[in-house]
Every structure is written in C-alpha cells, then in structure tokens.
C-alpha cells in the first residue's frame, strides 16, 4: 500500500494498532504535515522526547525551508539507527520492534529511528549454574547484551553472527554464532537450514528451538546443552561449536553437545588439573549412584539376597519388619515424596522455602520411619540418590536421571540384578546411537579417540591440552601453537 497520503495511513494505523500505548504526534505547518508514531510501552520515553521529537520540533521552530523535507529530516535526526522504508507492512514491523516512525505527507518514504526501551535487567550472576572461582556474569534476556558478552571475550572479526528471525508472531531474534576459522561451515549451514524450515507462531525460549531442531527427540537425555554462562559459550565457540543466542532468554544453545560435557563445568578449567580430575571422577560416581542406587537396593532385597553378606541381610531384614508395603512401593513413595519436596522448593518463593525443607525433612526423615511406613535404610538409599543427582547443574540432566532411575527401579523389581544389567546394556546402546547433526553424542568414548581422553574423565594440565575437539574443529586444530 502506498503511504504518501498521511491521513489515510494514520487512520489505518489507528484502526489496526489500536491500544492504549499507541502514540501519534502530528505536526503541521502550512507547507508540511508530518506525524511521529511510536508505541509508548516498548520505546524509551527519554529517547523519544530528548532526541527524536526534540529534533523534529527544533526543525519546525526554525521553519524548514527546504523543499525536500524527507532528506532534511533524515540527515538532521540525531539517532544512530535510522532507516528509510516505503511500505505500510514495514511500518507495522518497525513499530512493534520499538522504532519511532516519522511519516511525511506527500512523500512515499518514511523514516524510522530506533528508540527501544531497555526492558531487561542488567547483567547478573547466573542462578542456575553457580561456580565459586571464575567469571560471575551471565546472559540476560537481551539479544545485544548476550552478543556483547561473547564479543567481549572473543575480540576477533572471525567471530561471525548470522541473525535469523523465527516465529510468525514473536519474530524472535536468533543469532547463529561461530568462529569462521575453526568451525565447520557445513554444520552452520545445516543449522541455518533447520531454523529456516521452522514455521511456528512464537519462540519464547531456546527450549522451543531445541526440540524443533532435532529430528530424533525420543532420547530422555538432552542432546543439546543450554547454558547461562558466557564463558561456557565462548569455550564452545573456541572448540569449533556453534552457539545459538536468543532474544528474550538467557539460555543459549550449544551445538553439538557431547555426553561428557554434562560432567564438566567451566570452573574445571580455572583450577589445578589434578584436583579437577578427582572431582570429575566423583561426578561420574555420583551419576551412576543417582541412577542405580534404588534399583540395586531393590534387586538385592527382593531377588538376589544371596549376594549380600549375612550381616547386611540380617540388618536389612530387621529394618523391614513392620513395613506394610513391598520394597518397590516403599521406594516409589520415598522417591515421589522427594520429588514433590524438590519441586515445591523450587516453585515456592524463598520466604516459604525453609519451612518446606524443615517440614519435609522431619516428615520424610524421621516421622515416616518411626511411624513404620518406610524403613530407615530406604531413607538412606533415597537420600544418597537425591543428593547425587543434585551434583549436576543442568536441569535437563537431573530430569533425565530421574526418568532412568524409575525405569531401572521397575526393571530391578521384576528381574533383579539381571534386569539392571540388561537395561544398562540397552541404555548404553541408546546413548551411543544418538546423533545430533550427524555428530555422535558419546564421542570421544564411542567412537573412541585416545588423544581426546586427556580432557574427559580426567583433565590434563593446560599445556597438554594442545588440540581442540577433533570432531567439531575442522580447521586450526591446534589450541596451543608449537614452540619453534
């Protein structure tokens, strides 16, 4: 539609964008009529008043004598991000992106200048991935800030960002970031192709895209990691991976993600390597404990009583006296009780949090035992399980572990130790067959790569970590240049 008739266009906008926040300022002289349109809620008032409107009204006060109003205004408005548009559709688009639109009568071009309000919080400590030693800044809900946090760490023109808009209604900005001298261009192209194919009404969080971008979504284990930490994202970029940053969410996506990544934290790389190796092994033990402990306990007390020492057996048996439920039900009650407790602790405002934990602790830990509903050993088993799973900062991993734990528990109830072993084999088959963008999830274990092992279960000294990830980094494989 043509926009050279000011009244017509204004009327149309008034009807279409009707709302309390639509603001139209009309300025008229004998010769010139122009209107500044903006949405109050998403524009910064001071920016509008002090810069754009002031500019225009100053020009009016001095009586614009030029013939070409459009050109004059375009040059005189002191706004960095200024653009020319010529269609009605674009007006609406810019309007909802926080721009001010200046319409001039009898001109087929309109001026848009950015006056976006900062509707987000400042950079703060990431709440979901806390570390003790290391940078404390986290991503925010602002695309530009997120981009800036990474640019601050990697100051090179090689860091490329391809911006995409996704979502019919939300028009969410998605930035595909990679380092052109390291990353595999095919992977980047694949990801962009996948994003282009998505046709959804809105993308409100990176979690939406994560599910849409993967073909095989059956795995409980998250095959794409999300993170709140700019240092983690920068590490991934330096490894040749692709990082997707989003507007409106502090969680960026890291593609590809390997199974081993969930056992590493950025802090691992800021500390002495030997101490880190120890804690990494502890994490592995905790992983298996949190999946297998209830299952192994149930298998031992319901099927494989032969395999525990007599002393233990007598101990277990004497604790089970008077417990009315089968061991499986007992375990399930405790697990559900713990999950409810955990969930309520997260959802509840921090004022009520302590009361929940005290109440839950007393009820589950003490009262349930003395009331004879559960045996004390079951409390220990579930506590070990729960605490072990909390060692992981990623919520997705904790959820996956919880799911597997229940599946293993059922297998142990029906088949005993045999069932646990069978299911472990199935789980390993499942994990090793996972692929994201044709990159194996369990690398560097399967397929095995010996050179890569210095940064998996253990972490070697910084000097020995000479290479980037062999699968993701295609060029510039050396991290530390050889001394000549």
């Amino acid at each position: 539609m043509n926009i050279d008739n000011l009244d017509k266009t204004l009327n149309k906008i008034k009807i279409e964008c009707a709302g309390p926040d639509l603001n139209i300022k009309l300025m008229e002289t004998k010769k010139i009529r122009l209107a500044t349109i903006y949405l109050e809620t998403i524009t910064s008032t001071s920016e509008m008043n002090d810069v754009i409107l002031k500019n225009i009204s100053d020009d009016f006060r001095h009586e614009i004598k030029f013939k070409d109003v459009y050109n004059y205004l375009y040059n005189s408005i002191s706004c960095g991000s200024i653009n020319t548009i010529s269609s009605y559709k674009e007006i609406i688009e810019y309007l909802y992106n926080g721009f001010a639109v200046v319409l001039i009568d009898k001109s087929d071009k309109a001026i848009v200048c950015e006056a976006r309000a900062t509707l987000d919080r400042g950079v703060s400590t990431p709440s979901s991935e806390a570390i003790i030693r290391g940078p404390k800044d986290g991503f925010t809900e602002n695309f530009n800030k997120n981009l800036g946090l990474i640019r601050r760490r990697i100051k090179s023109p090689d860091l490329k960002v391809i911006e995409k808009n996704c979502g019919r209604l939300s028009k969410t900005r998605i930035g595909v970031m990679y380092i052109s001298t390291i990353a595999d261009k095919h992977l980047v192209d694949d990801i962009i192709k996948k994003i282009d194919q998505i046709d959804i009404d809105a993308i409100l969080d990176s979690g939406y895209l994560r599910e849409l971008i993967i073909d095989d979504n059956k795995s409980n284990f998250p095959t794409i990691m999300s993170s709140e930490r700019p240092d983690k994202a920068s590490m991934a970029l330096l490894d040749g991976r692709v990082v997707l940053i989003f507007d409106n969410t502090p969680f960026v996506l890291i593609i590809p993600t390997f199974f081993i990544d969930y056992f590493h934290t950025p802090e691992d790389y800021y500390q002495k390597s030997n101490n880190v190796s120890f804690i990494r092994i502890i994490r592995f033990i905790a992983f298996f404990l949190s999946i297998l402990t209830p299952a192994i306990y149930i298998a031992l007390v319901t099927h494989n009583q032969k395999n525990i020492p007599t002393g233990f057996l007598v101990n277990f048996a004497s604790q089970r006296i008077g417990v009315p439920f089968p061991s499986f039900v007992e375990a399930l009650i405790m697990m559900i009780a713990f999950e409810i407790l955990r969930e309520s602790d997260i959802r509840l405002p921090s004022i009520g949090g302590s009361s929940v934990s005290i109440l839950g602790g007393i009820i589950i830990g003490d009262a349930a035992v003395s009331a004879g509903i559960v045996s004390p050993i079951m409390v220990i088993v579930i506590s070990i399980t729960a605490i072990s799973s909390l060692i992981f900062s990623q919520v997705d991993v904790i959820s996956a572990i919880r799911t597997y734990r229940i599946i293993f528990l059922i297998a142990a109830t029906i088949f005993g130790i045999y069932g646990i072993i069978l299911l472990s084999i199935l789980l390993i088959i499942r994990l090793t067959s996972l692929e994201v963008f044709n990159i194996p999830f369990t690398y560097p274990f399967a397929p095995f790569n010996l050179k890569e092992q210095n940064d998996t279960l253990i972490r070697a000294q910084r000097k020995k970590l000479q290479f980037r990830n062999f699968i993701t980094a295609k060029k510039n494989i050396r991290r530390i240049k050889k001394e000549s």
Binding site: V301, T302, H303, Q305, K306, T310, G311, L313, V314, F316, A317, S318, R320, I321, V323, P326, S327, T413, I414, F415, G416, Y418, G419, L422
Partner: protein
Amino acid sequence: MKKKILILIILLLPLISGCNYKELNNLSIINYIAIDYIDNEYLTTVKVLNTEKNTDNQSDTFNGVTYSAKGKTITESITNISLSIPKKIYLSHIELLVISESVANNKLNDIIDYFIKNNEVNKNFSVLLSRNSSAKEILEEKELLSSYPYGNILSSIENSSNTSGISSDIKFIDLAYYLNTDYKTPILTTIKLDNDKLTIDNLAIFKNNKIISYLDNQYNLGYNFMTDNINQAIINYKCDNDKYSSVRLNNTNTIIRPKIKNNKPYINIYITGDIYLIENTCNNTNTEIRNNTSKEINNIISNVLEYSKDNINTDIFNIEEIFYKFKNKYYNSINFKDKYKDMKYKIITRLEMR
C-alpha cells in the same frame, strides 16, 4: 514389526530371569544347620537368625531360635521344619553344617549330594563333625545361639587356622571335592562339648567314606604345614633345660617336589618363611634361633608324617595327587597307596630372620 519383537522379548524375559521375587521380611534366614541320623531317620536342626528388633534391652545381638524335625530324607525333614516356622526357609546364607559321627560314617555322600544339588544353597560354609554328642546338641548350645554378630566357635576356628595354624577350617566345597577325588583324603574338624563349652577337637580322617582315625591336636600344625594351609604360625622350641622360646613364622610356603628313588616314592619338602622373634628367654643369637626353629619344624613335620605312615597308613596330605600330576608315568605303574608306607622324605627349611 519392531513392536512385536519388543513385546516378545518382554514376554520371554521372566523365563530367563526366573522371576523369583521374595520380600526380605518373609524369609527365615538360616545360618546354622545340624544333621543327625537316628533310627534310619534324619533329624535336622536349623538355627534361624532372629531379625526381630530387640526392643526390651538395647543390645544389638540377634538371638537365634532353633527348630528341628525328623524325616526320611533331608528334604522331608526340612519341609517338616517349615511347619513350625512362619516364614519361608532360606538356605542361601548357611555358615555352618554340623554332622554327627553316625551321619559321617553312613550318609556323608547323601548329604553332600543334597547340598550340591540344591541351587539355593551357597557352597562356601564350614563343616564340623560332632564327636561325642549329637549334632543337635551342638547347635542348641548357648554359645552358638547368642553369638551373631559377635564371634563364636566358627570365628575361633577361622582365627586359629589363620594366625597360629593349629586348626583347619574345612569348607563344604572342599569336602565335596575331596570325597569325589580318588587321590585325596577328606578330613573334617571335630567339635566337642566339654563342660558346656564348645572346643575344637582332633581332625577326623576319612577313608572310603568312613572315619578311620582322629588326628591328635599335636599333629595339626604339621598337617597344616604339609598341606600349605598356613600363613602364620607360632613355633615354640626348647632352648635350654626348662626354658622355651617362641617365634612367629610369617609368609610360610610349602612346596613338595616328588622324586623316584629305587622305584620308591620320595619327596623333598621345602619350607620357606620369615621368622619374627616373640619370646627369647635364652638370649640366643640369630643363627641359633634359626637353627632351633628349623629343627622344631623338622620335628613337627616328621612326627605327623611318621604317624600317617605307621599308624594309619593313609596319605592324608594329598601327596598322591602330586605324584599323579608330576610323575604320572610312575604313578600309573604302581599302586601308590601300597607304596606310601615306604615313602622317604627330606625336609629343607629356608627361613630368614626379620
């Protein structure tokens, strides 16, 4: 198709796993079992571990309860016991089997057979022979009843066989193996009731499924030396007129090398070990201590060897097996059991002072 296979696998799984679900509080865990043979009937006594919480006194002991019943077969007697026990009898945690002399002489093979074929039973429990009293009496002895989890006669056998070498801990699986092998002589530790106290008594020696002799306690150490069943031993020797010294032997090792001399079996017995001085009342020098200890070990071993050759004429140290393995040609050409009496031997000790 994939789903069909999955369903098939799930349906077949219980067949493989056995599906033997049993709750822990429905089990009677039996840890001691005693078998007598009276009037052509088995009298089986079991001790059930008490898993009830002891709320009256705060002690942690788990008092056991004994039950006994008769039957034509062991299975029948155990089935009869289950009439008086409210829970399922669970035999996987047997620690001790006591058999009476009459069982040992008449029904040993049947009992071995029962326990071997019962797949629920673990095979690594100790076997004791009750010499003067019935097996039931041994099991009902207070010392065995109120013992768990504290030590009892069982742990004293284990301890003395481990640390001083004066007793032997015979496991069921070894007994079963020895009984079914031609060139091995089964033995059993005996237990006796002495003034209401359980004590370890002489070793019983079997031949053709019958007890032929009891080895005196003084020969126990020698027996254990010969069978390399010793890790640590205490040797006492006379060093002066009426003065005695003690040394501890650690890391002892016995190797028997078979030889043929004049068409007669001949063995070299090599004993190695470390001497740790415990009591030196005569202020002997190191060489004297070593010589005296060697002499004492020589004495101990030759005593038991002479006894086995002259008194019972039975190869209780499984020397026959050594000849069978290493001198097979010679072994096949003779009847070793006849030649055992003529066997010569030489004891070589290599001890080191530490």
